[in-house]
């Protein structure tokens, strides 16, 4: 068995990388896959709190790199899903504690056992991003429908392509259908037109995300959450299923039409 390493990155901070990583990993694991997520944001760890696993940390990835702990000792099993694990970042160190070659080595070991290894990249284009990119088989770029986030996404796309990592896929996060409708937010089409990459997910702005992270419960497990549905759809697309894009506005079918335009046949 050889698992797939998926890097979630964005360039700009605060667009929802960690939320996306936690939820996609959760959705994949809930669907039966063996999944491990790695927080590559050393010094600013957060994937642990989003997953609600912050109280279980003993060892982290820097311990593994430095040989203080074995890989298995740093893997925290999720409290809900038996096939989901987290390898946390160190909180008191910085990005230089890990090298891209360390990440490659760790991921090679994890590929033996897991279907998916999800790497939560830090913001920026420096060492931490390089660490998260080095072992990657598939890159997911998270952006928001705003000028600064899309600009940074474009920069990241260029860097990923120059590393010959294959074409990255785009997640447009925090879209507000009512703002798009009145012409005050870039539409899915606008963003795709500018970035010219494959779309893998549209996630609506949704209050359940904050409630979920308050409690440490990813919304991917909440059947009623629209954002949760969007993340479950992304997970299915990662597995190769053809899933129609979420209907953000059921009243006039605007997004349904858009979905067809973007990817014929859903």
């Amino acid at each position: 068995m050889s698992g797939t390493v998926i890097t979630v990155t964005s360039g700009k901070g605060g667009v929802g990388k960690t939320t996306a990583t936690a939820n996609i990993a959760t959705a994949l694991a809930a669907d039966g896959a063996k999944v491990v997520c790695i927080d590559a944001d050393i010094g600013l760890r957060n994937l642990d709190v989003v997953l609600g696993l912050e109280n279980r940390i003993v060892y982290d990835i820097v311990h593994v790199v430095e040989g203080t702990a074995k890989l298995r000792q740093a893997m925290i099993r999720d409290k809900r899903l038996p096939h989901l694990f987290l390898i946390p970042a160190a909180q008191t160190r910085d990005k230089s504690a890990v090298a891209p070659s360390d990440m490659v080595r760790i991921c090679d070991e994890l590929r033996e056992e897991f279907d998916y290894i999800m790497l939560d990249s830090p913001a920026g284009i420096e060492r931490g991003f390089r660490n998260a990119l080095a072992p990657s088989n598939k890159v997911l770029i998270v952006t928001n429908p705003e000028v600064s986030a899309v600009r940074d996404a474009d920069r990241i796309i260029g860097l990923v392509e120059s590393e010959l990592k294959g074409p990255p896929s785009l997640i447009i996060n925090r879209i507000k259908p009512e703002m798009v409708k009145r012409g005050d937010m870039l539409s899915i089409d606008d963003v795709l037109d500018v970035l010219a990459i494959d779309l893998i997910g549209i996630v609506p702005e949704d209050e359940t995300i904050l409630v979920g992270s308050n409690r440490g419960n990813p919304v991917a497990l909440d059947e009623k959450s629209r954002a949760g549905q969007a993340f479950r759809n992304i997970a299915r697309r990662i597995k190769g299923e053809q899933v129609p894009f979420i209907d953000l506005d059921k009243n006039d079918g605007f997004f349904a039409r858009l979905g067809k335009l973007i990817r014929p046949g859903g």
């Binding site: 600009r151 474009d154 392509e161 409708k181 009145r182 012409g183 870039l186 500018v194």
Partner: protein, 89 residues
Amino acid sequence: MNNLLQRLTGRGQPPSKDVARDRLKLVLIHDRTDISPAIIEQLKDEIINVISKHVDIDRDGVEIKLQQAEHENRLIADIPLIKNPRRRR
């Protein structure tokens, strides 16, 4: 559709998302190529000088622009020749 209606009735400014999209496109052309508008101007002057050594061109009509399609960028030079130029030498 709302936007169109708004424009037809002449109400207000263009939708802010159109402004955002246009600004993005412009900033990305320069980000992607690392060619600033100032460099384009300089290129234009130098191209005019080189070409006009050999051919009579309409200096004011010369246009140099960056064009993008997908992930490919091109530098497009449009250099009009002067109509029926009489030989000077």
